[in-house]
C-alpha cells in the first residue's frame, strides 16, 4: 500500500489535449486464459471515447484492469496515467488520483450506509488532492446538491450501498459517485444497460455535464443509443481481446446497421478499410 506514504498534492493543471491515459500493447490473463491480446489506446483531456464490441470481446476486462481488479494478471504491455505507471498503484490509489470506473454490476454492501460510503470515498479523493475533508454536515449538503445531476432521491442516502436498488438506481448511484469524485479519467462500463429511456436520458445528461475540457471519458457500450445522447470523438471496436477498428461516431452508426460480423469479417463481406 503506497497510499499512506503518498504526500497530498494539488493536481497539476491540465490542458485540453494532454495525454491522460496511455495503454500500450496490453496483454491480460485470467487464470490461464489470455483475455486481452495487445490493446493500445491513448486518451487525451477533452476527449470522449466509446468502446464497443460483442460480449466477451474484452471490453469489461480492460475497464477492470485499468481500475486494478486483483483477478486479472497483466502479462505484457503498460498503462500510464499522466505519465505515471498506473499498474504499480493499488486500486484505491488509482481512484484517489482520479481514475474512476463506473461498474457494470455495482456491488451491494449490506449495512453500510450509502451516505457514509460516499463521504469516506469523497474525502479520500479530497485528501489526495490536498483539499480539506468535509465533515458530515457539509458533505450532506454537498451530496444533496450533486444528486440533482442524476435526479436521485435523497432517500437513497439512508439506504445501504446499492442494496435493494433497481438496475437504474444503481447506475445513477455510479454516476453520482463519479460526480463526487471528480475523476480525470472516467470509464463507464455499460452504464446504459438495463436502463429505460428516461433513466438513460438522465444518466447521459449527467455524464455529459461531467465531461470537461480537462477530463476524459471512456464509454463502454453495446448500443448506439447512449452514443446518440453523448457524441463520442472516437469509437473503438474490440474483438477477441484487440481493438480491431477505430473511427469517428459514424463507425458506431455503421455498426448499428451492419452488426459486428461486418467488423470481424465473419459475415463474409470485405472488411472495411480505415
Amino acid at each position: 500500500m503506497t497510499s499512506t506514504e503518498t504526500t497530498p498534492f494539488c493536481e497539476a493543471p491540465i490542458q485540453t489535449g494532454d495525454v491522460l491515459l496511455s495503454i500500450e500493447n496490453l496483454h491480460v490473463c485470467v487464470e490461464e486464459n489470455e483475455i486481452l491480446r495487445g490493446v493500445s489506446l491513448e486518451i487525451r483531456a477533452g476527449e470522449i471515447h466509446a468502446l464497443m464490441g460483442r460480449n466477451g470481446s474484452g471490453k469489461s476486462t480492460l475497464s477492470k484492469v485499468i481500475a486494478g481488479h486483483p483477478a486479472y494478471t497483466v502479462t505484457g504491455g503498460s498503462i500510464h496515467y499522466r505519465g505515471q505507471d498506473l499498474l504499480a498503484l493499488s486500486p484505491e490509489d488509482r481512484a484517489r488520483s482520479g481514475v474512476f470506473l463506473g461498474f457494470q454490476y455495482p456491488v451491494e454492501i449490506p449495512g453500510v450506509s450509502n451516505l457514509e460510503f460516499l463521504r469516506v470515498s469523497c474525502n479520500a479523493r479530497r485528501q489526495h488532492r490536498g483539499q480539506e475533508e468535509l465533515d458530515t454536515f457539509t458533505f450532506e449538503d454537498h451530496v444533496r446538491e450533486t444528486m440533482a445531476i442524476v435526479q436521485m432521491d435523497p432517500v437513497f442516502l439512508e439506504r445501504s450501498v446499492n442494496e435493494g436498488f433497481s438496475g437504474g438506481e444503481k447506475k445513477r448511484n455510479e454516476v453520482l459517485q463519479m460526480a463526487l469524485l471528480e475523476p480525470l479519467v472516467a470509464i463507464l462500463d455499460e452504464t446504459d444497460s438495463g436502463l429505460d429511456i428516461d433513466a438513460l436520458r438522465i444518466v447521459a445528461n449527467g455524464v455529459r455535464q461531467l465531461a470537461l475540457p480537462t477530463t476524459a471519458t471512456l464509454l463502454i457500450t453495446h448500443y448506439q443509443r447512449l452514443l446518440e445522447a453523448i457524441t463520442p470523438d472516437f469509437v473503438h471496436v474490440m474483438a477477441e481481446g484487440r481493438i480491431l477498428r477505430t473511427g469517428g461516431k459514424d463507425l458506431a452508426m455503421a455498426l448499428e446497421q451492419r452488426g459486428y460480423d461486418w467488423i470481424d469479417g465473419t459475415d463474409g463481406s470485405e472488411a472495411p478499410q480505415p
Binding site: S3, T4, P91, A95, V107, G111, F117, S121
Partner: protein, 480 residues
C-alpha cells in the same frame, strides 16, 4: 489487494487497556471450602439469609460438574488455585469520591471512564467496579431524587435487604448451573438497580468492570428490578490487564421486569482476549437472565462481545408475562485463538409473548465462534412468536463458525421462524470500495460494521460509535 491479503494485514491487535494498576489489595489465600464462603460473608458483614444462600449454593456447587457441551476447549480450571476474595484496601464507607484512592480514579480515567465531579460523563451514571468491588457510583444523588436506587450490591444488602432477599436468585436459582452456583457461593460485589413504579430512569446507568488482579477470580452479581411501568437502560463495559495466565470471570446478572416495565441491558465486553498465540486472557463464564414477570414487560439484551479468551454466555429471557417481549441483539467477534460459545434462550411461557434474536458472529484468525440459542414455546404460549436471524461472517480460512439453534415448540398457535446464513468478505465488495479510494483495512472494517449494523442500532447512542471503533480496533493493526 485480495481479501485474504487485506485480512492478513489486520491481525496485529493492540489491546489498549492492558495496564495493571499498582494498588494494595486485601486478599484471602487461594482455594475454596466452606470456611472461605463464611469468611467472605463475614468480611462483608452480611445478614444471615445471605450466608445461608451462599452455603446452600456452595453445597450445590460441590455436587455439580463443569458443563462440557459447549464448543470450547480449554485446560481444566483448578478451582483451588483461585483467590476468592480480593479488594482494593480503602475505607469501607466512602462518603464521597474524595475518599476513593486516587490511583483507582486514575485507573478509570485512563480507561475513559472519568468519575470525578468535573470530568464525569454528562448523561450517564457510572458504578465503577474494580476487581469485583464497587469503588464509586456517580450521580447517586440525582438518581435518588427520582427514587432510583443505583448502588453496589454490597450497599444494597445493607440498605435494601428485603429487596435483595426477595429477588436474589429468583431468576437464576442457586443451582441453575455450575458457574451460577459458584457465583452464588462466593460473589463479591456488583451493581444493584431498583426503579420504582412508573419511573422512567432519567439517565443511562452504567457499570464499568475492571479486572486488575492476576490470580483472583471475578464473581460479581448484578440485580436489576423494574417495578410496574418503570423503565431503565443499563450498560456494562469490561476490560482487564494483559497477563499471560487466565483469569476466571463467573458473573451472574438477574433482571426482573414487572407489568409494563422495560429493561434494556447492553454490554460492551472487551476483557483481555489473550495474545495472538492464545496465551492469557479471561475465561468468561457468565449467566445472564431476565424474567419478564409482568404483562407487557420487555427485556432487551444487546451485547458486543469482542474480548475474553473464552466466552460462555447466553443472556436469556423467561417470557412469563402475557404479551411480554424479549430481545437479543448480539455481535460476537473472535480473532486469534479466541473461542466464543454464545447466544440466548427465549423461553416463552406467557400467551402472546414475542421474541426477536439477531446474532452476528464474525470469526477470524484461528478462532471458533459458535452461536447457540434456544427458542422454546411452552404449552400455554398461545399466539407467541419468535423470529431469529443468525448470520456468520468468516474472515480467513482458519476460523470456525458454528450455528446450533435449538427450536422447540409445544404450542400450535405459536410461530417460530429461524434463518441463518454465512458470508465472507467478497473480493467484489472489497474491490468496489477500493476503487472508490478506500484502503483495504478500512474497507474490511466498513464491511464488518455494515454486517453488524442491525445490532449496533440497538445500542444507546453514546456507545454505538464506541462499539464501531472497538470492532475496527480489534480487526485492524494500522487503523484506529
Amino acid at each position: 489487494m485480495s481479501s485474504a491479503a487485506a485480512v492478513e494485514a489486520l491481525n496485529k491487535t493492540p489491546y489498549r487497556y492492558g495496564f495493571v494498576t499498582d494498588i494494595e489489595t486485601e486478599k484471602i489465600s487461594k482455594g475454596l471450602d466452606e470456611s472461605v464462603v463464611r469468611l467472605i460473608s463475614s468480611k462483608k458483614q452480611e445478614p444471615d439469609f445471605l450466608l445461608q444462600f451462599r452455603l446452600k449454593a456452595y453445597a450445590r456447587w460441590q455436587a455439580m460438574e463443569e458443563p462440557n457441551w459447549a464448543a470450547l476447549k480449554y485446560p481444566s480450571i483448578d478451582y483451588q488455585n483461585i483467590v476468592y476474595y480480593s479488594a482494593p484496601r480503602q475505607k469501607q464507607q466512602k462518603a464521597s469520591l474524595e475518599e476513593v484512592d486516587p490511583a483507582l480514579l486514575e485507573t478509570f480515567d485512563k480507561l475513559g471512564i472519568p468519575l470525578s465531579e468535573q470530568k464525569r460523563l454528562s448523561n450517564v451514571a457510572v458504578d465503577a467496579v474494580f476487581d469485583s468491588v464497587s469503588i464509586a457510583t456517580t450521580y447517586k444523588q440525582k438518581l435518588a431524587e427520582h427514587g432510583v436506587v443505583f448502588c453496589s450490591m454490597g450497599e444494597a444488602i445493607k440498605n435494601y435487604p428485603e429487596l435483595v432477599e426477595r429477588y436474589l436468585g429468583s431468576v437464576v436459582p442457586i443451582g441453575d448451573n455450575f458457574f451460577a452456583a459458584l457465583n452464588s457461593a462466593v460473589f463479591s460485589d456488583g451493581s444493584f438497580v431498583y426503579i420504582p413504579k412508573g419511573v422512567q430512569c432519567p439517565m443511562e446507568l452504567s457499570t464499568y468492570f475492571r479486572i486488575n488482579s492476576d490470580d483472583a477470580g471475578q464473581f460479581e452479581r448484578t440485580l436489576i428490578i423494574a417495578e410496574e411501568g418503570a423503565s431503565v437502560s443499563y450498560l456494562e463495559g469490561c476490560t482487564a490487564p494483559m497477563f499471560d495466565t487466565n483469569q476466571l470471570h463467573a458473573a451472574v446478572v438477574e433482571l426482573v421486569a414487572l407489568d409494563d416495565a422495560s429493561i434494556k441491558y447492553s454490554t460492551v465486553q472487551n476483557w483481555y482476549a489473550g495474545d495472538e498465540n492464545g496465551k492469557g486472557g479471561i475465561y468468561n463464564f457468565v449467566t445472564k437472565r431476565g424474567l419478564c414477570k409482568g404483562q407487557r414487560s420487555r427485556i432487551s439484551w444487546t451485547q458486543v462481545e469482542t474480548g475474553s479468551a473464552i466466552t460462555w454466555k447466553y443472556p436469556s429471557c423467561v417470557l412469563r408475562g402475557q404479551d411480554s417481549v424479549g430481545e437479543f441483539y448480539s455481535v460476537a467477534l473472535t480473532n486469534h485463538h479466541q473461542q466464543a460459545d454464545t447466544g440466548t434462550k427465549m423461553v416463552h411461557i406467557g400467551p402472546g409473548s414475542r421474541s426477536t434474536i439477531i446474532s452476528k458472529g464474525i470469526s477470524s484468525g484461528n478462532s471458533v465462534n459458535t452461536y447457540r440459542g434456544l427458542v422454546n414455546m411452552g404449552p400455554e404460549a398461545r399466539g407467541a412468536r419468535n423470529f431469529s436471524q443468525c448470520d456468520s461472517m468468516l474472515i480467513g480460512d482458519q476460523a470456525a463458525a458454528n450455528t446450533h439453534p435449538y427450536i422447540q415448540s409445544r404450542q400450535p398457535e405459536a410461530t417460530i421462524e429461524h434463518e441463518a446464513s454465512t458470508c465472507n468478505i467478497s473480493e467484489d465488495q472489497l474491490f468496489y470500495l477500493q476503487s472508490r479510494g478506500i484502503e483495504p483495512e478500512a474497507a474490511v472494517s466498513m464491511l464488518v460494521s455494515g454486517f453488524c449494523r442491525d445490532v449496533f442500532n440497538q445500542l444507546p447512542m453514546e456507545f454505538a460509535a464506541e462499539a464501531d471503533k472497538l470492532l475496527a480496533l480489534k480487526l485492524e493493526g494500522s487503523v484506529g
